[in-house]
Amino acid sequence: MPLSREHQQRFQKALYARGWAGYNWPVEYGGTGWSLVQKYLFQKEMADANMPAIVPFGLGMVGPIIYTYGSAEQKQRFLPDILASNTWWCQGYSEPGSGSDLASLKTRAERDGDHYIVNGTKTWTTLAQHADWIFCLVRTSSDSARRQDGISFLLVDMATPGVSVRPIITIDGSHEINEVHFDAVRVPRDNLVGEEGKGWTYGKVLLQHERTGTAGVARTQYRLRELRAQAGRSVRGAAPLSNDANFMRKIAAVEVELKALEYTELRTLAAVTSGKAPGAESSILKFKGTELQQAVDELYLEAAGYYALPYVPEQYVYDFPDQDRVGEGVETDAAPRYFNFRKASIYGGSNEIQKNIIAKHVLGL
């Protein structure tokens, strides 16, 4: 379950104090300047230590967009606070009518002197309730033949009059996502990143980043190790689950698939490190990664048995006293997590869209 803004910030500031917040960033903007291999190892160590995930919207997404395409003024203005996790960002891409077909987006930004006037609605906006800023894909022109050409990349202060946030509760009962409305919101033209009409290109870079970022092999492997460990123990006097050969075979089968994906990721890493473009294999990382994440969630559910049923949201926070828990270890939030992570095959370009891309661009169909 997501941490509070305060806890998440405390964690990211601890990384910042170590110089690791910008593990993905170049040295000149305060990052580590690490090689791909170093970044990979850092992510793996973080996963193996069961560290929280970095909320990606600032450090992983808009930061790199700004230092790659932003003006000198924008770099100076935004990057230090992103790096130090002083500001919280969210991502305004999807709209009620534009999910998989993102290029159909309708949120308009019309010029008015030194400002844009923004009108429209973004949806499924993760953690917008905490956000100081939102980066948006907005339509600045409807003139060009390619729908993608009229889209621009705009930074909007969430405190601007006319911006409102409506919570969307997900089926597990948590509040992670939101609808963000823009009602005649005046945004200075200085907040446009790069060139007007080039937003799609910048945004696509982000989506590609999201594809490799969500493979999450090491985190899934960590969860599977936790499950194996619990299966080997007696819980509340029951026979250990490891006595059940069927169940252990299922764990082993997912382990095999995860090992395959780990080496697929390493092949990509090796190609890029030796100066080649990432191979076709990199295209399967996102959808396969989420499939395996969800396969492990299903195994947790199986392990929990009847203890998948209790819905006790207050015990999903890290400091809930053990003696008051209903269910133990992997059982504790098995079902809510299983429900919540059905999102993983939907967000960041659904698995169906990923397969369309592979069919078209990798297989040439």
């Binding site: 077909d101 997900t170 006097g237 048995g305 009847y306 049923l309 209790p310 169906e352």
Partner: protein
């Protein structure tokens, strides 16, 4: 084969279908789930007035003499409507035990008020260590003066937090079942919501003293009764599951016809069409197995027990696929609490966990 319904069955099916479509929309259901006891008292009373709580009981018990087929018809429509009122806990589980074992005195004390909607009941069939093995019972009953002293823990007792009557399996000459008033000294309950919008409780019994009138049936009768009642409960939740799968398949097909992306309804994409055909097929196959299993049970056929495991395995596997696909094809809408699809998916998931998951029943079939 004759699958036609008799007059009573057709009338019952029709009246439950009408209730669900006219009086139990998604908002009503959500309001029920959000009520203090996790269901709506007036709706429960309505079920009593309509005779549905009397369905499986004999005329002598004040019932309508219904059997597995009648329960199937009702539960299938309850599935379509995602009815959260505790029919399973009160009528199928607790009622199933009382119908089989209770004396006339016990029936008038416990069963009559359940049928009338004046009393909530629960059957504590699981323990913290038992997983799906109903014979794995650590709770004990020892003789004490003219009654018994009960000690033990019960896990995830459906409707256990609401119940005034708890039916407690305990070890005494084998397994025996006891009717325990929930307010008896020594009974402690931790009540919680369940992920499907209903409620359950962890129950601890410490030196709970009950009198001789608490034993249901004869000492040692408990396990066979539990097995029979849980088999009925499996058929009931599988019927509910089939209703849910039908609803999810219809809703997904409908959504795909209306949701436009890339300038066309997403239902025009062949990749999605085939997946909806798979949902439809899984649902039809499940319904077929449900009919076999329910009819085998109604006829007390030799293979009735295997049929119960077969349908539970089917709902566990096919239900999971249909639920996941319904959410996936609805995209973000399927993930939203405000929208019904995710709640159908969650109830289907819980049904998969109840009374033995798919693997548990496949093991039974493999033996």
């Amino acid at each position: 084969m004759d699958f036609s319904l008799n007059e009573f069955q057709a009338m019952l099916s029709d009246s439950v279908a009408k209730f669900v479509s006219n009086e139990y929309d998604f908002e009503t259901r959500q309001a029920s789930a959000a009520a203090p006891r996790g269901f709506n008292d007036a709706i429960w009373q309505n079920f009593c007035d309509l005779g549905w709580t009397a369905l499986p009981f004999s005329e002598a018990e004040g019932g309508l003499d219904g059997g597995p087929i009648e329960t199937m018809l009702l539960m299938q429509h309850f599935g379509r409507g995602l009815v959260v009122e505790p029919y399973l806990a009160n009528i199928v589980l607790a009622g199933g035990v009382l119908r089989r074992l209770a004396s006339d005195t016990q029936k008038s004390r416990w069963l009559a008020p359940i049928i009338a909607g004046e009393l909530q009941a629960a059957l504590a069939f699981a323990e913290p260590q038992s997983r799906y093995d109903i014979g794995d019972i650590g709770t004990t009953a020892t003789r004490d003066a003219d009654g018994w002293l009960i000690n033990g823990s019960k896990a995830v007792v459906l409707n256990g937090g609401n119940a005034e009557l708890l039916i407690i399996p305990a070890v005494l000459d084998g397994v025996s079942l006891f009717a325990v008033a929930a307010d008896t000294d020594g009974v402690t309950r931790r009540r919680y919501s369940t992920v499907d919008g209903a409620t359950a409780a962890e129950i601890t019994l410490r030196n709970v003293r009950v009198d001789s009138g608490a034993l249901l049936g004869t000492a040692g009768d408990g396990l066979a009764t539990l097995e029979a009642v849980l088999d009925e409960a499996i058929l009931a939740v599988c019927a509910e599951g089939v209703g849910i799968m039908q609803a999810l398949t219809e809703k997904t097909v409908e959504y795909s016809k209306n949701r436009v992306q890339f300038g066309v309804p997403i239902g025009s994409f062949q990749a999605l069409q085939h997946r909806m055909v798979d949902m439809f097929t899984a649902t039809e196959q499940s319904y077929s197995l449900l009919l076999w299993a329910t009819m085998a049970s109604a006829a007390a056929a030799d293979d009735a027990k295997r049929a119960v495991s077969a349908i539970k395995y089917q709902i566990g596997t096919a239900g999971k696929r249909v639920g996941q696909e319904a959410v996936q094809l609805h995209g973000g809408m399927g993930m939203s609490w405000e929208f019904d699809v995710g709640h159908y998916f969650k109830r289907l998931t819980v049904i998969g966990q109840l009374f033995g998951n798919a693997d548990w029943h496949l093991d039974r079939l493999a033996q």
